[in-house]
């Protein structure tokens, strides 16, 4: 074990002994690859005869996304209680004395993987149907009934779109290392052509895509992950993000690499009990690509400044920004050949 593992093992053992079961100790710490927004470790917690697999997510010094861990934790907790497949939340700890940084702990979801590359042709369609059916269920949730009003900013159907646009426009203006004329053209276009008010306000996951859920070897989605950008807003925001061409780069006709776009939207509509307004949806498609640029620009700024040396941040900043710009030009240029799907019903 290296120094970091020793430090975590000691800190987490002390924490679990105080907060879970007396005498608890931690073993089998293993860092989980991928999750760029939090430092994530798998562990076994022991206390007497009890052994429980857990996952600890530790605030990084920097990350792809500047978010509040309490919002993430509470959104995941609400989703779990609502019967959605989400990791069971166990502890949220903001006291720095244990690990030097805030952290949360959830139950481990065993025997699954999240990698889009691991989805077999045999299970692709079934996972796709589950994916958009579950997203529809999220869209059907009322965040106020879930008790999330104290951790999520209030908004209205008429203002939620422009509030999101203002947020991400500011991120881009603040963090861009080089001027990005495509992103700024998109910001102006979105401001000139605001969408109609949201049909309803719902819980928005904020990063719902292939790669952010765990699926079992037999093709069942077992847990929706990465709730750190959850907020109250227009459910079309999540749908547009889930269908962004970035998530099916090598196979643009299959949303998220799983299903034809129109089928994904049909399943979502049935599950959410909502109808997609094509005009509003086109606005959210452009917004999704712009939001992606905001996330990727932020990550490359962190890498450039030295706040983080994680190579995934640089890849996101370079490769993903490149692709997201190509998507925006495809959407907005008067000369576009429209390689990417915009008509979804």
């Amino acid at each position: 074990m290296d120094g970091r593992e020793n430090q975590l093992q000691a800190g987490l053992s002390s924490f679990l002994a105080a907060e879970w079961l007396p005498g608890a100790r931690v073993s089998d710490l293993a860092r989980i690859p991928g999750g760029a927004s939090r430092e994530t470790w798998r562990l076994k917690a022991h206390a007497g005869d009890a052994i429980r697999g857990m996952v600890v997510r530790i605030d990084p010094e920097t990350s792809l996304i500047d978010t509040d861990r309490r919002t993430e934790y509470r959104a995941m907790e609400a989703a779990f209680k609502a019967g959605l497949p989400a990791p069971e939340t166990l502890f949220l700890e903001e006291d720095l004395r244990w690990l030097g940084r805030p952290f949360s702990i959830t139950a481990e979801v065993t025997g699954c993987q999240a990698s889009p590359g691991g989805i077999t042709l045999e299970h692709r369609d079934a996972i796709g149907r589950q994916k958009w059916s579950l997203l529809g269920r999220i869209a059907a949730l009322d965040p106020l009934t879930l008790g999330l009003a104290d951790v999520m900013a209030a908004t209205t159907p008429a203002t939620c779109a422009m509030e999101q646009l203002d947020y991400w426009a500011k991120v881009i203006e603040t963090d861009e290392l080089h001027p990005n004329p495509v992103a700024h053209a998109a910001i102006r276009s979105l401001r000139r052509n605001p969408p109609p008010p949201a049909q309803k306000l719902s819980l928005v996951h904020g990063d719902y895509r292939t790669g952010n859920f765990l699926y079992s070897p037999d093709g069942e989605i077992k847990a929706i992950l990465d709730w750190e950008m959850a907020h109250i807003g227009d459910p079309l925001e999540d749908l547009a993000w889930s269908l962004d061409p970035l998530w099916c780069w090598n196979e643009p006709d299959r949303a998220g690499g799983l299903l034809p776009h129109k089928e994904a939207v049909r399943i979502w509509e049935e599950s959410a009990g909502l109808e997609v307004d094509p005009e509003a949806f086109r606005w959210w498609q452009v917004f999704a690509a712009l939001k992606g640029i905001g996330i990727w620009i932020s990550s490359s700024e962190d890498f450039h400044s030295g706040a983080s040396k994680a190579p995934i941040l640089a890849i996101a900043g370079w490769l993903m920004t490149d692709r997201q710009q190509r998507i925006l030009v495809d959407y907005l240029s008067p000369h576009s050949m429209h390689r990417f799907v915009r008509v979804v019903k």
Partner: protein, 150 residues
């Protein structure tokens, strides 16, 4: 000197992928090293093309700026366009070319907004310039595109 940086970087990518990743002691390290190889592949592409892209783009913007300067009323924009048209990078180092490009792209953003406003007001010249700006942006994203297996 024959600049073979891109080839050298690709050799390093192969070495990491074939020799070091299999020896990684855990999945996290292996994944991190995999990201390194992707990142190095992007750097290899930029190493070879960066100067060409930056010089070509600066040249491609010249006629757009000249045409816009004939019609733009805003004094600040006119002055910035004149400066951009006269701008010489201190050298062909990528850092100097990038610094010049940053100034010009910032100008392009502000000019594009002004052109859009003029087009909305019915100015025919603005429709033509807007069209040319979008052609530039299409070429810009194509020139900066990366090849990657991801």
């Amino acid at each position: 000197m024959i600049p073979r940086g891109s080839e050298a970087i690709r050799h390093l990518v192969t070495r990491v992928a074939q020799d070091l990743i299999p020896k990684a002691h855990d999945a996290y390290t292996a994944t991190d090293l995999g990201y390194f190889t992707v990142l190095m592949g992007l750097i290899a592409q930029d190493y070879d093309r960066a100067a060409e892209v930056l010089v070509s783009e600066h040249a491609a913007l010249q006629p757009i700026l000249r045409e816009a300067a004939l019609h733009i009323d805003d004094a600040d924009l006119k002055e910035r366009i004149a400066k951009a048209l006269a701008a010489e990078a201190p050298s062909l180092r990528v850092s100097d070319l990038t610094a010049r490009s940053d100034v010009t792209l910032k100008l392009l953003i502000d000019l594009h907004a002004a052109v859009e406003a003029a087009e909305a007001g019915g100015a025919d010249w603005a429709r033509t310039v807007n069209d040319e700006i979008w052609r530039f942006l299409e070429a810009h994203v194509t020139a900066h595109a990366y090849e990657a297996a991801l």
